[in-house]
Homo-oligomer: 217 residues x 2
């Protein structure tokens, strides 16, 4: 059965997003810099299409590069919270097609947790957003089926990762710790019960520290 | 001038101590395991005198061992919060001589922050506890003078590290992240302002992840 994996970036004080998330600050105030380590990688620029990666410079020994590659390697499907897919907490805008343009970087099925039914959105490049109203277990079952023997990645945000941890459904948690101190916002590791974690890899650059945990059942 | 350094162990959710600290649970409930990584090192057992270190097995490439050595290497003086020195928050018991017995592992001057005057305590093995009522800047000045060109270590607890960060007095913060999820207790990185941190080293074992930050002025 495929592994269920989450890669998520947090501040050094444990926030996955800043306060007051909005259309103009989707990650909350002050939190865009959380992802500085990621957006500077060739792997990210390659999958997100802005700028070209340079095949002549193999940066496989760069910890940030390796972490960025691991974030999308071997993924067969994603599960994503409704709040990561769309802004606001109010109305459900059917014209909204995600934050990522017409060719999102996922390129596999993405199962979006929501309370509202919606037809699937078939995007360019292989991404299909499907909307699941039955909760994390249902979304995971669908994602597993779509992923085959590849892994299912829980893309975020914080509350979705929390639901997976609480339900004992996560196999690996990869924390990418940005050196930012946010002081306020949405904490990742609250209300998750007492999962037993075992770190199995750690690396870092001046931009981030990468720690991989196995969740012991 | 000597560097001002803090080594502190936190849970993966950011707590330096558990809830309800007391005489029988000085680190708070559920938090003794925070230090599992440390107490299993030869460096710790050597300085704390329980068991002998084995000179035949050089464990210098063990990340926990290296972190334990760094915690006490080159230290000329410590600054410590009153709450780390003694239990409770109430009366100031003059018969209390610290948690560490008659030969504490510090072996250099230790400046304890307190609101109550007290004569210095000269312990065996080089440790002298002096009690400072003038706050962190005063304690640091005294510690610097005692340390000479060696470093001053801020031993903890969380609120003392917070005061140093807030006052911009810390040069390096070394976080030893235990895989424990405590869920409650005393957080390390709250109310510290917005220090600019730059990670410069990361390593880890199955017991802990070690991340070293430079605090940029």
């Amino acid at each position: 059965m495929s592994s269920v994996i989450s890669h998520i970036t947090v501040s050094v004080d444990g926030f996955a997003a800043g306060p007051r998330q909005s259309l103009s600050a989707p990650l909350g105030e002050g939190a865009m810099d959380l992802h500085t380590w990621l957006v500077s990688t060739a792997a990210f620029r390659g999958t997100h299409g802005s700028g070209s990666s340079d095949p002549a410079s193999d940066r496989g020994d760069d910890p940030d590069e390796a972490a960025a590659v691991a974030m999308s390697a071997g993924v067969g499907a994603y599960v994503m919270g409704r709040n990561m897919f769309s802004p606001g907490r109010g109305s459900w805008d059917l014209s909204w097609r995600g934050w990522w343009g017409e060719e999102p970087p996922f390129r596999v099925p993405v199962f979006v947790l929501t309370h509202y039914e919606r037809e699937p959105l078939v995007m360019e490049g292989g991404t299909v957003f499907s909307f699941v109203t039955g909760g994390v277990a249902d979304a995971l079952a669908l994602a597993r089926e779509a992923a085959g023997d590849r892994s299912v990645h829980v893309a975020g945000g914080a509350s979705t990762v929390q639901q997976f941890l609480r339900a004992g459904l996560l196999d690996e948690l990869h924390l990418h710790i940005s050196p930012l101190v946010l002081g306020d916002g949405e904490r990742l590791l609250v209300d998750v019960g007492q999962p037993v974690l075992e770190p199995f890899a750690a690396s870092g650059s001046s931009k981030a520290t990468h720690v991989s945990y196995r969740v012991i059942r």
